[in-house]
Each structure stands twice: as C-alpha cells, then as structure tokens.
C-alpha cells in the first residue's frame, strides 16, 4: 500500500531566549502553534490531531506535561500524542505527525515541540548521580567530548575545525531573528580563545540552553496542493541503537549511517552531497558537523572536516549546513530537532528570509539524541515526491 503524499503547509517558532519568563509552558507552545496556524491560514478547530514532543521531563519537573497542556493546546476532543526520543524528539515528533497524514488517518496534523530549560538546569538534569558508579559524568558536554577527541584522532582533522563551524553558525544566526544567540563578530580566533570547558571542547563550540518551541502543520496531498509553496515530504527515517555495546562506534554510529542510507535510497538520491541543496543538522557541539557529514554520507569517513575547512558548508558553499545558526545558536532541546526539520522546510518553500539558500529545492532535516542512539531525518522538496 502506498503512502499518501504529505507536505508542510505551516511553520512557526518562538523567539528563543535563555529565559522566556513572560510565558508559561502552554504560552510558549501556543506562540509557535499560533504562528504555524497563521502561516497555514487555519484555526485550531480545523486541525485533526496534535502530536507533541519534548525531551526529558526532569528539565521542567512536570511528568507527562501533555496531560495538563491538552486544553491549552486545543487538543480537547482530538487525538493528542506525546513523543519522546531525547534530543532527537523534535524530529521524531514531526515524523510521527507526518506518518499520521501519510497513512491516511488524518488530513491536517499540528505538531509542536518545546523545552523551557530555564525552569531547571540542564547540567544538573543530565548528571543525576547513580549509586555505586563513578560520578565522572558532566552533562552532555562531558559525555560527548571524549568522542570528539576520538573523531579528531581518527580523522586527523586540524584542531580549529570546530571553531570554523562555531563561527559559521553564529554568523548565520545573525540572519535569523528567532535565534537565541546573536553574537556579533564571532571568528575562528575568538572561538579558540574562549574557555576550554570539556577539553577538547571550547565554550564557544557548545550550544546555549534555551526556552523555545517550534510547530508545523502537516497536510495530505489534496489539501497541500491548494497552497502556494508547500514543503513536500520526500522521505522520513528513524533508527536507534543501544547507548553502550562492545566496540560500538561512537564517532560514526551505525544507526545514523543506516538511517541515512535508507533515507537516500527511499528518496532516490545516489549522490547526497550533490543532490541535497542544503542541510540543517543537529550540531550541539561544533565538531559534530564534520562527524555527521560523514555519518550522513555527504563525505567519505575521515573527510568530513575537509568540506567544513573548504567553506563548502557556509551559506554560499556547495552544501550549506545549519543556515539558521543551528543548535549552536538556539537550543530549546525538545524543539531543537523540529527546528532542524522546519528550517529544511522553510528553505524549500523559499521562506527562510536572510538565511535563504538561493534555489534550494531539496533539503535535509536531521536530529539525534541520547548518547548518539536515536536518529531521525527527513528530506523535503519544493516538488511533490515522485517515488
């Protein structure tokens, strides 16, 4: 049985900030939802179902927040589903929403993802001590920094590649009014001069902690066709793997490699670096750009950093990456994956504003989460899918 084609017809996001003390969790979600609905020219009553995602509940200390949020989200009388796959959740939430449309269950699904990190402290929430074991864990940075060191050793990349990524993404963010960080004058030198937090990761090579939300309206083909510039969903994929296993590749995880290969196959893409016009990928620590370039198959193993170094991933490069400023510039964790998916959709709709890539027709949105154990990705295009 073939899938019903589906497309993104509305996109909204909040202005991401360290603290959005002016809104509650419901208000934060509604800010993004109301913008997505306005973009789609729809009201909440015209939406068939709502799919919500967010990362660990310890961040806000509200277990199952979807229960109390249901009414404020306009979900009364409709299906409401919550998705959770750690940092990749924004991506998997969008995929669950699109699946409901592609399967023919619903015509118009609204999907929203959020995080209000200012309600707690992410380093604390990600480092809760476990009895009997060594308390060497130090947040997400402490978890990923050794794997970044492994990448540098394996690829023999020069030590300033992370700084190139950070400077590029922070400068891209200056073109994005919604971005949390608007750090004028970020350069490779200024990044390298910032404090070494988790050696080999500098402060400026890390993502901020943000409050924010992102929402999209996904519609079936017959509805989407009535819109001027829908972002057609060409393919979606999710894969997972265990956090720890003997000889598990933490630099180039198998689940990510296989997810990308399956996505390229499903979308008929044989040379992703040429056929994808731009990619918005989940890079919370700058070095993950070259790591994911390889994991996604945009470059052979060990060669990802060469694309970064050559400027190919800049806005005017051959494969622009993280045009919005990426996770490095805004990180409401639960929404971060959806922001990647939404940026890919904005690009193929030609509505990315100052960070628009000229002539973007096909784009990748990517998210990962947990200890690099959950992956979600989609390819969206300006044309309806041919497959």
């Amino acid at each position: 049985m073939s899938k019903t084609p589906a497309a993104v017809i509305g996109i909204g996001q909040t202005h991401h900030r360290a603290k959005r003390e002016d809104v509650s969790m419901a208000g934060l979600c509604r800010e993004a939802m109301d913008r997505a609905l306005e973009d789609a020219g729809l009201t909440l009553d015209e939406v068939d179902a709502i799919v919500i995602g967010k990362a660990p509940d310890l961040f806000e200390g509200v277990m199952m927040p979807e229960l109390y949020l249901a009414e404020a989200l306009g979900a009364a009388g409709k299906p409401l589903m919550r998705v959770h796959t750690a940092g990749s959740v924004g991506g998997s939430t969008a995929i669950v929403a699109s699946s409901l449309v592609q399967a023919g269950v619903h015509k118009r699904v609204l999907t929203v993802a959020f995080e209000k990190q200012s309600e707690s402290n992410a380093m604390w929430a990600l480092s809760v001590p476990v009895p009997f074991v060594m308390p060497v864990h130090a947040g997400a940075g402490g978890y990923f920094a050794p794997h970044v060191r492994s990448y540098i050793r394996r690829s023999e990349a020069p030590s300033h590649i992370g700084a190139i990524v950070a400077a590029k993404d922070r400068n891209n963010a200056l073109k994005n009014p919604y971005a949390h960080l608007h750090s004028e004058g970020t350069t490779v030198e200024s990044v390298l001069a910032s404090q070494m937090l988790w050696d080999p990761i500098h402060y400026d090579e890390t993502c901020p902690s943000s409050d924010g939300a992102c929402a999209m309206v996904i519609a079936a083909e017959d509805v989407a066709k009535t819109y001027e510039a829908p972002a057609w969903i060409h393919g979606t994929v999710m894969r997972s793997e265990p956090t720890s296993a003997a000889e598990r590749d933490q630099v180039n995880p198998q689940a990510g490699r296989e997810a990308a290969a399956a996505l390229w196959k499903a979308t008929g893409i044989t040379d992703p670096a040429r056929e994808i016009d731009c990619a918005e990928i989940y890079v919370p620590f700058a070095w993950f750009e070259p790591m994911w370039i390889e994991n996604l198959g945009f470059a052979p193993e060990g060669a990802g950093w060469k694309l970064t170094e050559a400027g190919e991933t800049a806005l005017d490069g051959s494969l622009p990456i993280n045009m919005s400023g990426g996770v490095l510039s805004s990180n409401p964790i639960g929404a971060s994956g959806m922001l990647r998916f939404a940026e890919a959709a904005l690009q193929v709709r030609g509505r990315a504003g100052e960070h628009q890539v000229d002539g973007a027709r096909r784009a990748l949105g990517h998210a990962y989460g947990g200890g690099s154990q959950f992956f979600s990705m989609w390819v969206v295009g300006a044309e309806p899918p041919s497959n």
């Binding site: 509604r30 009414e71 402290n121 480092s127 130090a138 050794p146 794997h147 970044v148 988790w198 000889e247």
Partner: protein
C-alpha cells in the same frame, strides 16, 4: 543476601515556574486575598481561569474578582493526610463553585469529621495571614454567615509572575543482579565481567544480556585492573551537584581482557599529559574504606609502560 544491591537516591530541584499572564493574575489575586476568575467566550466564569479558552482557543484576557464564598458540589474525606497536603489532620477535599463562577475549584475544607460536610454546603475562605500567591494561601471553612468579616486585604501586593516549586523524589535504586555481583566483587578487590556466549565479548560491568545479541550472559570473567585509556576529556566546568572538583580527567579505560571501556578518573599526571593509548592501573583506596562501589578504585594512574598502539583500541572509540 538479596540478589540486588540497593541504595537510596534523592532527585531534588527547586523548579522555577513562569506563570504567564493568566495564572500570574490568579496567583496575584490570592496574594491579595481575592479569588480571580476568567471570563470565557461563552460568558461563563471559570476558577481558576484557564490560560486558553476551551471553546475559542484564544488567550483568556478578561478577569473577574469574585467573592470568597461558594458551595460544595462534591467532596471526599482524607482521613490520613500525607506530607504536602493542605492539613496535618483529617480534612475534606471538595469541589467548590465560587459564587459568581460556573466551574468548580478543587480545594480543601477544614472540618473535623465527614459528618460536618455535605454537598450543597456553603463555605468561605479562611485566608492565611502571610500569603505568597499560592493555592495554599487559603482553605475553606463552613460559612457561618459572618462572611469575610475577617478577610484581609492587600491590594498592593506585588505581582506574581514566577514561582519556585521544590520537587523532591526519593527512590530506592536497585542495581541489576549482574551489576550487584560486580559491585560485590569490588568489595573484595576483584573486577568481574561477563562474556557473551555468542559474540564472546566481555562486558564490564556485566549487563546480564548482550546488547548486540540479546542473549543472557552468565560466564563470569575476572579482569585485570590494568588497562588502556581509549579516549577522555578534561572537565573544567563546575556544575550543580558535581561530586568531583574540576579540573579532572574523565576517561574511558579499556581493562585488559575487556571489550568495553569503563569511565573513571585519571590522576597522578598533569591533565595535559594524559594521552589516548596511555597504559593505566587502578589505584585502590585503603581496604578499610571499601564498599560495594566502583569508588573503591580511587582513580587510575599511569603504569609507565609504553603507550598502546592505536590499532589495539581503535575499535573501541
């Protein structure tokens, strides 16, 4: 002896809540000893006011100051209150429709026995002298007709927009039976792993099941306390709840004979001299300090042997 080692864990944090304009208005009202409802699009008044109208889905923006009296529409008796509930002695939880409101509010009624409360009973608020802008600023009592005679007023109370919500959860953590053997081994100065019968990989700590093959593991393997640093980071950042003072080296140590690395500390060498491939040996705490914990090993320190060849550990990165 129990199959599993257990220990208490408390996960606690003082969460900061941004109330938003609607809940903020309601809580500010409580601080002022006033019950504030929200007018809905169909004309009804709801207490507490919802942030968004259930029918029109628009933000609720019209507020109504209500009397602090109402009628019990349903109730239940709490004979043995637990910590955090509105009263230390037995009380009633009731749905109370405030006069002028159309929706019931769940709150506490302070009466001595279930014989003293009934559906349809009139109640009024008894306000706390010191109010913080929380639902605990009042409880309801039977309305004796002297309505609000002792009602405090504080019209100039500071607006509530942020509240602190302490959350504290007490868990009893249980290690798996396999991990428990590992921790008990450590109490004897031994490092115990398990070998997968299928892929033959040695896991330490043992997992009980191979994550790759999904089969139970039972063959016990005693491992050396000497190994190789596969990769590491230097933690320079202090954070809330941190147990070790930074800077410190958090490393993956691949013990000789194991197929998966353990995370531990590297000391007795300046952080900038720690290397991938460095050979290290466990430095055990004095025996009298041992418990059933990996912390029996104080840290790992260089053995002085030549570094391991990259090819010997590159598949563990």
């Amino acid at each position: 002896m129990s199959r599993t080692l257990q220990a208490p864990v408390t996960v606690a944090f003082d969460y900061t809540r941004s109330t938003g304009p609607v809940i903020g208005r309601f809580l500010t009202g409580l601080k002022q000893a006033t019950i504030v409802g929200g007018r809905l699009s169909d004309g009804r008044v709801a207490v507490p006011p919802p942030e968004y109208d259930p029918v029109s889905h628009q933000a609720v923006t019209e507020f109504v100051e209500l009397p602090d009296t109402g009628t019990v529409t349903s109730w239940t008796w709490v004979s043995e209150p637990v910590a955090g509930q509105p009263s230390e002695s037995a009380f009633a939880y009731a749905l109370i429709t405030i006069d002028g409101a159309d929706t019931p509010w769940l709150h506490a009624v302070d009466v001595a026995s279930p014989d003293d409360i009934s559906t349809g009973m009139r109640v009024r608020a008894r306000w706390a002298a010191e109010r913080t802008g929380a639902v605990t600023d009042l409880v309801f009592v039977p309305d004796d007709g002297t309505t609000s005679a002792d009602r405090p007023t504080e019209p100039d109370a500071e607006e509530v927009s942020r509240i602190i919500t302490p959350v504290s959860l007490d868990y009893r953590y249980a290690a798996s039976p396999e991990e428990s053997s590992f921790f008990r081994g450590l109490a004897e100065g031994r490092i115990l792993g398990q070998r997968c019968p299928k892929c033959r990989k040695v896991y330490v700590p043992p997992r009980g099941a191979c994550p790759t093959d999904g089969v139970p593991t039972s063959e016990e393997v005693e491992l050396s306390d000497v190994g190789t640093v596969t990769t590491f980071c230097v933690v320079n950042v202090p954070f809330m709840g941190q147990k070790i003072k930074p800077p410190y080296v958090s490393a993956y140590v691949l013990l000789d004979g194991a197929d998966i690395a353990l995370q531990h500390l590297i000391l007795e060498i300046p952080a900038e001299e720690v290397r991938m491939g460095m050979r290290v040996k466990a430095v055990w705490k004095p025996r009298e300090e041992w418990g059933t914990s990996i912390e029996n090993i104080s840290h790992f320190a260089p053995t002085g042997e030549p570094d391991a060849d990259f090819d010997t550990y590159k598949h563990h990165l």
